[in-house]
Symmetry: C2
Subunit: 340 residues, 2 copies
């Protein structure tokens, strides 16, 4: 039985090693916000940073800021800041575009690396844009690879020698069910398939260890637990071993080896930057960059423990007070099986 | 001979019907800025608008703002504001993603509408990302359509019954050479080919009449003459007659007919929204939205006349003062043949 008394809750708060972190956010008075999954609250410092971007970088310094404010490296700099949150090296993550577009890029790259295999595996009820983008991709690839959706507990069995890539969301957007990233990645690799992990509902909320799991590709959004603001730019991960081989079809000038040579022929950058496409929104990227400072020195293990304890409490209170009104439980009661 | 005396210039300024428009921009003291082609100056009102987005919409109202601040319709609202600047109907233009990504979408849609034709025609020396995106697209399409670059004065001759789509930049980014949009569009249509116009270097600087020219598709950036800020979102145009047939491969949830039904299968929106992909950056979109107010009531014919006169003066002064130092002329001396 989990204690649910106010006294007990206040005692937990008093002993909370993460309590001070709350001060890093600019929460509106009197609001208890539980919608981080849709839009994170405003971290302190972001408003000032945006003001600097507008007043000094844009208004005063104008195009000089591409160099003086290092706008040009924002995708890599923000990527490097996200990397430790997902168990990646600094140069394996880049900030770019939207989650949907990033999914297209990495899934297309994976299909090309596994040309001749005809299946893209995902699960029914995955976050819709993931399925839609895979439908668009497979329809575009002609008969090369078709999307097949398989129930989550049958995915490992469904992966075979004809599977090009498995595309799954690490933490489910409705149930918070969490996949065993390592087990599925290993099962895919055993059959020669690649894996794309959508980390939109895990990054910043649960510890993620992409390299520990041997992951190939990952994507994620910036506006949920990373608190980058409404429609913040997304990010993507490509394991270093794939940098030289990953070819994606959205070959824009920011993915070019020498974008400012302005030559006619595309040559992909040798590193993660080959996943970039067009010009970065500096306003949006700067907000996300600043927001990520809220994670400075945060122990993700402690954060995970707190999140699990709070959800346990919430479930207990729901059971105690709300179930009689017909409120049910969509998520797992086993803390280790669910995200945040 | 164009007069170049200071007196004459000051007289022109005194009689300039557009003089008051300069006050709509927050120019840094003492700066003469001629780099609008790379990054427009900050329009007044934008800083305040961004502040409202951060402080009220994001910080205070949080996810309610999708409805209360109408974030959900930003792509359509900003598109409708751009439409009159390019001779389109309000519901033929939408703000989305980057110019590069928009090019991929409309060129892919055009190729699919003209399946079986094997050529995508563009010009060598076109803005690099346009060529790169077409290379990425054609490489992904397999043997369906390959990019062929043809010198600008031979383009009409090169269009044949095997041409799927012609992709050209209306005003060239280096020389400011301007294509005759109507003549080329007509020549393409005569052979059953479609045309994509890149308006990045024309929108907001020269009058553009997409529907007058019978155009099929167009794209353009938001950070140059539209002054939307560094890396502002881009826009795209699809002629109404193509709305039901244009199928693009980046089928993200914001292009879905009912994005919030969260169903597994993609169904394209019946209108221009089918060209949307992922979540819009609200910060970036709001800056562009506010910046577009600088065009309120501006007569593009007068603006064009002023721009031509200023370039004529600049050419005359260059000839008078700079040519002896080896400075040459890249653009046409005929005002009607060049953009801004």
């Amino acid at each position: 039985m989990i204690p649910t008394s106010l006294d007990w809750c206040q005692q937990q708060d008093a002993n909370d090693p993460l309590a001070a972190i709350k001060d890093r956010f600019d929460l509106p008075e009197g609001v208890i916000y539980m919608d981080g999954n849709s839009l994170g609250v405003l971290p302190k410092g972001v408003a000032e940073r945006i003001n600097t971007v507008v007043e000094r970088e844009w208004r005063t310094d104008l195009i000089k800021s591409w160099n003086t404010a290092d706008w040009i490296n924002l995708p890599a700099r923000v990527g490097a800041k996200i990397a430790p949150l997902v168990g990646a090296m600094a140069d394996e993550v880049v900030m770019a575009d939207s989650t949907s577009i990033n999914l297209f890029k990495v899934a297309a790259a994976a299909c090309r690396m596994n040309k001749g295999r005809s299946k893209i595996i995902s699960e029914p009820g995955n976050f819709p844009t993931d399925l839609y983008m895979l439908q668009g991709l497979s329809s575009f690839l002609g008969n090369d690879a078709q999307l097949q959706t398989v129930d989550r507990n049958k995915i490992i069995d469904a992966i075979d020698d004809d599977t090009a890539v498995v595309v799954l969301t690490h933490v489910h957007y409705v149930t918070a069910d969490m996949f065993d990233m390592e087990a599925i990645t290993k099962a895919a690799h055993d059959k020669g398939a690649l894996v794309v992990w959508d980390l939109s509902h895990s990054t910043g909320a649960v510890p993620v260890d992409l390299n520990g799991a041997g992951a190939d590709f990952a994507i994620g959004c910036g506006y949920k637990y990373l608190n980058g603001g409404p429609g913040a730019p997304a990010f993507l991960f490509v394991a270093k071993r794939h940098h030289a081989n990953a070819e994606q079809p959205l070959t824009g000038w920011f993915g070019h080896k020498r974008p400012f040579d302005f030559i006619d022929d595309y040559e992909p950058a040798p590193d993660i930057r080959r996943m970039l496409v067009g010009t970065t929104s500096v306003l949006a990227a700067s907000a996300l960059d600043s927001a990520l400072d809220a994670f400075k020195g945060v122990d993700m293990g402690l954060l995970r423990k707190k999140s699990q304890a709070m959800t346990d409490l919430f479930i207990a209170l729901t059971r105690e007070k709300l179930m009689e009104y017909g409120v049910g439980l969509a998520t797992s009661e086993t803390p280790a099986k669910r995200g945040s």
